[in-house]
Symmetry: D2
Subunit: 326 residues, 4 copies
C-alpha cells in the first residue's frame, strides 16, 4: 500500500517486501516484521528457490494485507521453458509442499480451476483442471484399485467460469458444489497478479489460506476459504499478469527516486524529497489513466507459458493426490 | 423399444412413431395412442413444421417412455444452412414457444449448457451458453434498465461439464448451484440422440419436462427436472447424433423386411416372417458389436452445424428472456 | 519517434499526432505535415468518426514512418458493446470503405487471418476468418449462383499462425499460398498496437498499403504488401494492445511535463526543461525494464471485445465481397 | 471392395484382409497376395503388435488399392489409456520406425497437421502439431545448439485446415509452402478411417507413401505424396472413425452370412447363397441411406483418446527429429 494507490500483489513474498520498504509499522525498516516468519531454502543444482512466509498473528496479517497462514513460494527461472525432465522435478517439489499442507485424512478433494479460459493469462486454472486425473466417479462406481487402496483421494474438479460468463459469484457456484458433494478439501488454482514483472511466470505460490479478495486478474469477489466454504482450502497460484496501473506507478516512483539522486537536483539545492509525500503521489495518480485500472500487462509468449505451467501444476496435484497418506 | 434392444431416441416425435409402429399397447396399430395428443402446424412459406406432442396421462407416459408434459418440435430443413435472416425467423418462432412454456413471473433464470465442449456434436449446450446475454450480476449491481423494468429476467448460466471431466454427476453440480442461487426456472440445453439420421440437425425440441435418463450422447445420469431440482426445468435440445447400435439395428430390420417382400423368398414358399420375432432379433443383436454401444454416428460437417444451431438457440433464449412478461 | 525509444503505433492517425507533437521536420509544429492529406467525417447520429489519412509523397511517408497510401480509420465508442443492430451499421460502413479500396475486377480474394489464436488480443485475425463466408471451392465446383453471377468474389482464407508455432515467417506461408492459388487480391486482418489505451478496441483501420514491419503484437517479420506478394494487399486492423514499454514511457513523459509546470520547480528557479532532452530520455529509458519490451497491455474483458470486433469485421468483408462490382 | 459399394479403409493392414477375404485376384483365397510382403512382430511384454506390409509391385498396389511402399502398423490395446510411462514406450517405438523411414540427410522437415480442428476425431493432426518442438526459426537465427550440432532437424509445421474453412485444396496450401520453404521431407499427420471399429484408436500406421485419395474423414482431395510435392512424404495416421455406411454394410453382410448358416434356411431347402451376389448387394445398398455417406462413427470418449494419441505421436516425432542421424 503506497499512498492512496493500492499496489496489487497476490504474492506474500512481495507483500513482505513492500512492507519492509515502507516500514510503516516498525521503527526500523530493516527489522523483520513482527509475527511474520520467513524461511528460505536454495537448491542450487536445480535452481529452485523456496521461501516459506508464515504469518503468525492477526497484527502481522493486518500489516501484510494477507490472512494468517503459510505461504510457500517456489521460484525457478526456467519454469516456463519447455523441458520435460525439469518440469517433472518441479512437479515433484511442488507435490511435496502440497502433501505437507494437505496433511492426512483427506479422502476426497475438489479441485477448482478459477479464471477465464478465454483470456490467455487467466486460463491457468481451467488448463490445470484439463490435465488432472479425475477419479471420484470411478472410485464411487468401482472402488479403489488394490494398489492404491489407502492412498488415492477421490478427485473431482470444476471450472466455474467468471462472473461475466455466469452472472454468478464464483463463490456461489463453488459453495453450491461443495455443499452438494461434500469434499474434505478444496484445492483452488488461480492466475495471480504480481507487483513486478520479474516474478511473472517463474513463481508458484502455495498457501493454506485459500483465495482472498483482490486475487487473480481482478474479477474475483468474495474470499474462497475455509470460512466461506466450511472445508479447508489450499490455493495454488502463479503470477501471470501485473496490473497496468501498478507497473506505471512503480516506474514513476523509481523515476522520482532517481531524480532525487541526480546531480542536477543536488545542484539546484533542492530535492523532490522535499515535496510532500502525498503531493508527490497525487501527481502520479493524476497521471495514471483510469482506464489502466481495467488493464493488465502480460508477456507476448503467454500462451506457451501458461501451457507449460499448467502442465507442471496438474502433474504436482496428480502426484500429491494419488499417493496421499490416508 | 424393439425386442431386447433399446432404441435410443430423445425425441417425443420419434417415440410416438415407434409406439405406433409396434402398436404394443393398442389393439389397432393405426389408432392414436390413448393419452397422447398431437397437434401439427405447417408454415409452408418458411418451411417450418411444428408438432406439439402432449403426454397427458401416466399410462401414456409409460407407453411413450417419456414423462407427462408438452413436447414442441420445430422441424426446418434448412436449420443448419448459414442464412442469417432465416435463423432470425427460427429464433423468433422458438422464442414464442419458450415464452409460452415459461409462462409469467420467472424473474430469474439459470441456463445450463449440458454436454462436453470437447466433443463437437455434444458441444451444443456449452456453445449456446457462450452466446447468451448474461444479466444477473448486472441487474443485481445496477438494477434493471428503465426500458426493461418489468420484462427482463435475471439470466445466469453454467456449463457443468461431463462426469469424465468433473468426477461428479451433472445433477450434483446443478443442484448445488440452484440451491445456492435460487433461480425461479432452469433452462437446460442439450445435444440429443435421434433414432433416424433424417432428423439430425434439422429439428429442435422444447419441453417442460426437463432432461430425463438416457438423453444426450449417453453420459447423463439422473434426471434434471422439477422433481430433482425443486424448480421447473425447460429443456431445449437438437438431435446431433444417432447411436451407432441404433443405426445398425434399424438397417437390419429393414433388410429383413425387404427380404420378406422379395420374390425369392416367396418362391421358396417361406418367409422370414415365419421366424419367431424374438429369434430374429436375437440374430441381429448378436451381430451388433458391443463396442457399438459406446459409439455414435454424426455428419462430417457437424462443426458448422453446431455453430449455426447454437447461435439460433442463444438468440431465441435472449429474445424470450429479455422481453418476458413479468 | 521520441529519442532512442521507438514508440509503437500501427495507426496512421496516431503516427500523425506524434509527428505533429514533435514537429521535427517542420518549422512550425502546428502546421500540417506536407504530403499528408487528412479528411474527417463525423456521423453524429451513429457516433462514427471517420478519418482518412492519405500519405501522398515518399517524404511524407518517411516522416510518418508509414508507406504512401490511404489509411481510413473508423472510430466508434461503442464498437465493443454487444449490440447487434449497431454492429450491422458499422459492418456496412466498413464494407463501403473496403469496396472503395478494393475497386473493380477482383474476382478472387484470399483473406489472411494474421496473429496467434492462442493469445486473446492477437486472435482477432483468426477469429475473423472463422466467421467468413468461404466460396472459392463452391464456385469452382458448381459455378456462381444465378443471383450473384457478376458480383460475388471467389473467397478463400488462411490462418497461417505465428513463427513460434510454425517455424516459418508468416510471409513465406502467404507467398507460397498466393503463388499456388493466384488470387487477385489479399485482405489481411491483424490485431494492432496503439500508442494510447484510449483507442483500444474502438478503432478500425483499413489501408491499401498492406501490413508493414512493426505491426501487430510485435511478432511479424517482413512486410505483407503488393511488393512482397505481387498482388494488392488491403489490411484491416484493430488496436487491441499497447506495448507495455510505450505506456510506461508515455506516462513518464507526462510526469516530467507536469513537474515542469509545478509551482515547486518554478520556486526552485529551475525546471526539468533545463535538463538536456537526451539526458532526460536516457533517465527514462534506463528505468524501463527490458522485460517490458516483450510485454503488452490489454483490457481484462479482451475476450468479449475480440469476439464482438471479429464478428463485425467478418460481416463487413462478407458484405463487401459478395456484392462486389465486377 | 465389395460389389459396387466402396469399403473405406486407410489401413494397409485392413486392405490386405479385405483382399484375402474376397480373394478376387487369386485362385486360392488363402494364398498370400503376390507382391505383398508381410512381417509380423509381437512384443508380448509391452503388448505391442507390429505389422509391416510392403507393397512391392504395381500389380499388388492395384489389388490392394494402395501405392507401392512400406506400411508399418503398431497395434497396442492400451494406446488411448492415459498412462504416461506406457506412452513414452510407444513414442520411442514409433520414433524408431519413423527414423528408419526417414533415413539420413533430412536436415529440414515440414510437419503437416491435416484435418479439421473443430471436429474432435479429425483434430488429431492439428493437435499433434500443437505439441511439436518447432525449431526452424531458432536454428536459422541462432544456429544449432552445440549438443545437437549434427543431429537435430530444422522443424517447421503447418495446420492447413480443411476445404470448407479455406476454400482451397489442402494440397494447394502445402505445395505453396513447400515450394517457398524447401524442406527436405514432409511428415503428414492425419486421422484415418478404418473398416472395423475394433481397430479404432489402438492402431498407428506409418508409411512412406504419403496421403492418398480417400484418406481421412473423407474430405481430402488430391494425394499428398512425393509425386505431387516433389519431396518425400511420410504419413502417420490413426484410425479414429469408421464410415457410417461401411459399418452398416458390414453388419448386413454378416447378417446374410449368419442366415445362410441358420437351420431355418437349411430347412427351407434353399439358402440366401443362391441369391445372386450382385442382387444381394443391391438389396443392401438400397437400404443404406445416402445420408450415411456423409456420416462417420466414433466413440463417445473420442476427446480423451485424441488428446492421448496426439501427445504420443508428437513425442515420437520430437524424438525422431531431434536425434536424427545427419
Amino acid at each position: 500500500m503506497l499512498g492512496k494507490f493500492q499496489v496489487r500483489t497476490d504474492l506474500a513474498l512481495e507483500a513482505r517486501e513492500i512492507c519492509e520498504e515502507t516500514g510503516e509499522s516498525r521503527t526500523n525498516a530493516n527489522e523483520p516484521i513482527r509475527g511474520v516468519r520467513v524461511d528460505e531454502d536454495v537448491d542450487e543444482e536445480r535452481e529452485i528457490y523456496t521461501t516459506t512466509v508464515t504469518i503468525e498473528t492477526e497484527n502481522a496479517a493486518k500489516t501484510m494485507g494477507k490472512p494468517v497462514g503459510t505461504y510457500i513460494t517456489l521460484e525457478a527461472p526456467n519454469l516456463s521453458t519447455p523441458d520435460e525432465d525439469y518440469h517433472r522435478e518441479i512437479s515433484e517439489e511442488l507435490a511435496k509442499h502440497l502433501s505437507h499442507l494437505i496433511g492426512g485424512g483427506r479422502e476426497s478433494v475438489l479441485v477448482v480451476g478459477l479464471g477465464n479460459r478465454e483470456v490467455t493469462p487467466d486460463a491457468l486454472g481451467p488448463d490445470v483442471v484439463n490435465n488432472l486425473r479425475i477419479t471420484r466417479h470411478m472410485i464411487r462406481e468401482y472402488g479403489r484399485m488394490p494398489d492404491e487402496m489407502e492412498t488415492a483421494a477421490e478427485v473431482s474438479a470444476i471450472v466455474p467460469g467468471v462472473m461475466a460468463q455466469t452472472g454468478m459469484e464464483t463463490l456461489e457456484i463453488i459453495r453450491g458444489v461443495v455443499e452438494e458433494t461434500k469434499p474434505h478439501l478444496v484445492i483452488a488454482i488461480d492466475a495471480l497478479a504480481a507487483r513486478s514483472t520479474k516474478r511473472l511466470n517463474r513463481t508458484i505460490q502455495v498457501t493454506d489460506t485459500g483465495i482472498n479478495p483482490g486475487s487473480g486478474v481482478g474479477n474475483h469477489r468474495d474470499a474462497i476459504n475455509e470460512e466461506t466454504l466450511g472445508v479447508p482450502v489450499i490455493a495454488v497460484g502463479v503470477p501471470t499478469v501485473v496490473d497496468a496501473a501498478t507497473i506505471v506507478n512503480d516506474t514513476m516512483e523509481e523515476l522520482i527516486a532517481e531524480m532525487d539522486r541526480s546531480e542536477y537536483f543536488q545542484m539546484l539545492g533542492g530535492t523532490l524529497g522535499t515535496l510532500d509525500y502525498a503531493e508527490k503521489h497525487e501527481m502520479i495518480h493524476e497521471l495514471i489513466s483510469p482506464s489502466l485500472n481495467t488493464m493488465f500487462v502480460t508477456p507476448k509468449d503467454i500462451d506457451e507459458t501458461v501451457k507449460c505451467l499448467s502442465y507442471t501444476i496438474s502433474e504436482a496435484i496428480n502426484i500429491a493426490l494419488h499417493a496421499m497418506q490416508a
